[in-house]
């Protein structure tokens, strides 16, 4: 696949690994956070950790919109799906998220709720068009990459005059999450979580551009390198961060120049600004209430807002006491620090969101990294 395979070349990977090993200062540690769940997935899937020197540590950030969706919002979605005749259209990522009372959207579907998995928000609009006598709600999740798709869907529904279509909006914002981490006591004051630099999200940046990260590098004196999704992109970004740290620089650099500019996608941003506005506060699973971190549908499009239309009430549900997702999402703890990791909490029976999404730190570690440290030998052929 063009523009994919070339960025997965193993030979180039080994050379980049050698460069990283050469340039990393052996007298110090480098703690780098990859914010984005897609990068967590790439690091796990390609075993990039194997190629890094011991003093370069990757910390998984909360950039997985599925992982940070609070239980109370999933309960709301299940509540919507339970309304007689209502069709809930959702991305497949949400289906297995654990909600209250042992439920999930998948289980609700098994009990008769009409929940349909869609690949695109456009499919949700089509379902509304094809079923004029039924209420259709689109369960919108995602960071800035996915928000424009929801905006287009609302615009399309408005143009078509679809009175039966609405959106349950759970879109969240990247810069707010980064700020929240940098402001956390462990990072800011206590210094218990060393955080030297960030690998910035790939596709979010396609939309918002590299400019919004400049605030972080200036205010918090941490370098940010925006990286593409492929493993070579990630390794190059790690090299660039190491160089910045060695030079004492704290700048925003862009490794993903083939798709990201400083300004981003003006057309998409304008569309989002037309349909959405900031919520004063929004609860993130594991991070608690985060100010100005999420979007809701504007007043003028109220009729397309499922929360208003169905009078949804949000009830905050605390995580299971043993669940360490919050600490893991902030990079304060590792999956193996969680008492229930791999025993009570597994991908088959997830307690918390870090285990459900394939990019959650726990799922990634369980699926790809559990075997590390166990010696494996092939018997000599007889």
């Amino acid at each position: 696949m063009k523009y994919i395979d070339e960025f997965r070349d193993g030979a180039l990977a080994r050379r980049l690994a050698a460069a990283i090993a050469r340039e990393a200062d052996p007298t110090r540690n480098y703690s780098l956070m990859e914010f984005c769940g897609g990068h967590t997935h790439a690091i796990s899937r390609y075993g990039i950790k194997d190629l890094l020197p011991a003093n370069v540590h990757m910390i998984h950030g909360p950039g997985c919109p599925v992982c940070v969706l609070p239980v109370g919002r999933i309960d709301n979605a299940i509540e919507l799906a339970g309304r007689p005749g209502l069709i809930l259209a959702t991305y497949a990522d949400t289906m297995r998220l654990p909600a209250s009372n042992g439920l999930s959207l998948l289980k609700a579907k098994a009990r008769g709720a009409d929940i349909r998995m869609v690949y695109s928000s456009a499919d949700a609009v089509r379902i509304a068009r094809d079923n004029p006598h039924r209420e259709v709600v689109f369960f919108a999740i995602g960071f800035e990459t996915t928000t424009p798709a929801t905006a287009v869907a609302i615009k399309e529904a408005a143009t078509l005059g679809l009175g039966n279509f609405s959106v349950f909006c759970n879109h969240v914002l990247t810069p707010a999450a980064i700020a929240n981490i940098l402001e956390s006591p462990e990072v800011r004051e206590l210094g218990t979580v060393p955080l030297d630099g960030f690998i910035g999200p790939a596709h979010v940046s396609t939309v918002i551009g590299s400019q919004p990260y400049e605030y972080f590098s200036e205010e918090y004196r941490r370098p940010v390198v925006i990286a593409g999704f492929e493993p070579l992109d990630v390794m190059q970004a790690i090299l660039m961060l190491i160089r910045q740290l060695n030079d004492g620089r704290a700048e925003v650099e862009n490794e993903f120049t083939r798709a990201v500019t400083r300004e981003g996608n003006a057309k998409a941003k304008a569309l989002v600004a037309d349909f959405f506005e900031l919520r004063r506060s929004f609860e993130w699973r594991g991070l608690g209430e985060v100010p100005y971190s999420a979007l809701r549908i504007k007043e003028k499009y109220r009729s397309f807002d499922a929360e208003a239309r169905y009078g949804l009430e949000y009830r905050s549900v605390p995580d299971n006491k043993a669940c360490e997702c919050g600490a893991i999402l902030r990079g304060v703890k590792k999956p193996t620090d969680c008492k229930v990791f791999g025993t009570v909490c597994t991908p088959e029976n997830p307690i918390g969101s870090c285990m459900v999404s394939s990019e959650g730190a726990c799922a990634a570690h369980y699926t790809y990294g559990r075997f590390k440290g166990v010696p494996v030998t092939a018997a000599a052929a007889p």
Binding site: K2, R15, T145, P148, K267
Partner: protein, 81 residues
């Protein structure tokens, strides 16, 4: 984070739609979020929408950067660390 994939535009149609191709797999996607896309361009596709045109020159430049940052080792020894 978001699963997005570079795809080649093989045909354009109204309104604001394109047929894209990745190694023989084809899908109709929306161009509502981008401007001035031509047949033969590569776009980044996420949940059925093109988010940006992929710049082939920058792609080439990035690949060259990988090779440049790490001159080949003198002897073909094992992998890095």
């Amino acid at each position: 984070m978001c699963l997005a994939i570079p795809a080649r535009v093989v045909a354009l149609s109204e309104p604001d739609t394109a047929l894209i191709d990745v190694d023989g797999v084809r899908k109709r996607i929306s161009l509502a979020l981008v401007d001035a896309v031509a047949v033969g361009d590569y776009v980044i596709v996420h949940v059925g929408y093109a988010l940006a045109r992929l710049d082939p020159e920058e792609a080439a430049r990035t690949l060259a950067l990988f090779a440049e940052a790490a001159p080949a080792p003198l002897a073909a020894t094992g992998t890095g660390p």
